[in-house]
């Protein structure tokens, strides 16, 4: 592949952004931003959109991509908070939209989920899959529903742990220890939430609650408040735990 057909457009504010950018660049992709699109418009072979919390921003980003890119260029959207079918419905060329889902840190994810919209063209699904496979991830194709499989199940485990903290059932530390030692979870749910970003977790649960309208998807009020207060975990220095930001020596 020449550099030209390894050019991808990446846009969005999710914590997926920096990691996807790094992953792509280390696989010699050229990653361009929406602002650079004018310059590279004819070289971009695929677009990735990662906004999860701010759906208005998601909509405007997707619409921009749809307007500015030629109609045959795939748009892959992170369908954590909203179905791909709904995202595709915002576009003029919905057949080129396909969803995917994962959480950071991407280095720990051997597998990404791909969820086609009802409108997705079969060729786009194939392109999406082989794109993720190209940088070493396995792919499972699942039905288009908010949060797909892994982000949905994990977010609900974290949500339940937050309810337990909120109600004073146990401390975050004890809840995390219990889940690791009692059932062999790779991380305690609250430290896991802090690593993923509580905003990302909240966006999945809020999306499920909005779309499926059932009590079982009610976000824990404490989770909502932490997100509103900007205490989203490791990234912000504070979530369920405190993360002292190390001062970096600058010569």
């Amino acid at each position: 592949m020449s550099t030209a057909n390894k050019t991808v457009l990446l846009a969005g504010t999710s914590s997926l952004y920096p990691e996807l950018k790094q992953l792509l660049e280390s696989d010699s992709y050229r990653v361009v931003s929406l602002e650079q699109l004018d310059e590279y418009k004819h070289e971009v072979r695929l677009a990735l959109e990662v906004n999860n919390l701010d759906l208005a921003k998601k909509k405007s980003t997707i619409k921009q991509m749809d307007t500015l890119l030629p109609a045959n260029i795939p748009i892959l959207t992170s369908s954590l908070a909203i179905t791909t079918t709904e995202v595709a419905s915002w576009t003029e060329y919905p057949e080129r939209v396909c969803g995917f889902g994962t959480f950071v840190p991407l280095v720990e994810r051997a597998l990404f989920e791909v969820a086609p919209a009802l409108q997705s063209a079969p060729s786009i699904i194939e392109q999406a899959s082989s794109f993720f496979v190209s940088f070493g991830k396995e792919v499972e194709i699942v039905e288009d529903e908010v949060g797909l499989v892994f982000p949905r199940i994990l977010s609900l485990i974290i949500n339940e742990a937050v309810f337990a903290v909120m109600e004073g059932t146990a401390t975050p530390e004890d809840i995390d220890i219990a889940m690791k030692k009692g059932t062999n979870y790779p991380y305690g749910p609250l430290e896991w939430g802090d690593r993923i970003g509580l905003d990302e977790v909240f966006s999945v649960i809020r999306g499920l609650h909005r779309d499926l309208a059932e009590e079982r998807y009610r976000p824990a009020p404490l989770l909502r408040k932490l997100v509103l207060a900007g205490r989203v975990g490791v990234r912000s220095g504070r979530g369920f735990y405190s993360y002292e930001k190390q001062e970096v020596y600058q010569p």
Binding site: L111, F112, V149, T169, A170, D174, A178
Partner: protein, 285 residues
Amino acid sequence: MTHAQVGIIGAGTMGADIALVCARQGHRVLLLDMNQAVLEKAQSYVGSMLAKDVNKGRITERQKEETYERIFPIADMQKLHVCDIVIEAVPERLELKKSVFSSLAEICREDTLLLTNTSSISITEIAGGIKKPERIVGFHFFNPAPVMPLIEIIRGKKSSDENIEKVYQFAKELGKTPVLVNDTPGFIVNRVARPYYNEALRIIGDQGAGIEQIDTIMKKAGGFKMGPFELQDMIGIDVNFATTESVYTNFFHEGRFKPSRIQQRMVQAGSLGRKSGEGFYEYSE
């Protein structure tokens, strides 16, 4: 509380395992069961586990004998009056547990710690109406108790701070990792793990993904050791369903805990997982 006298009520799988854990740490264990055959089975189980310890070079033959002889099988509850700690491990039926604690409250000293290994019944409810309820504390081992490091220490409404502290130290002396929990349905683990099973069932019900596919995703994308369906097959689908029902009932039917009708059908059909030869997967002999 080094080398305490520990009473254990019920010599089934859990009771025998707890006896082993306590005896290994040097405690004298009074293992009570009304059924002589169950007691004998528990003793031979403990013997075989200790023999394995010898084979693996963990202990000497002499240490094996000493540990084995620290467990005294008994059939008379009155003999528990000497105990510093009593751990109840009888089947999960409220009335049975209440009657055990009601007898213990009469038999034991007032400073004897009375622990229940329940996984699903409220400690407050077990302690309700029992004399000196401040000494009753939840002490939830995970299966298999000799292997799993966790113990949930559950504070009933009337458990005292002082007794919670003593129980906490006792768990540490057993070489376990204790966590403190207020008395809420499912405590920590059985509650927080609910969505792992329930949501996976929900997704297959909605045809969002397949059984094997979900197991694969949770392992490869999530780093879980087992997928939710493999795990249900291992735990027993009936056991898993009963836990969900208990948490659901005790949270007064909050929608988050609603059991799955798919799981219910599996139980009704006797497809219980590994132990019945088929569950979400098939198991040949």
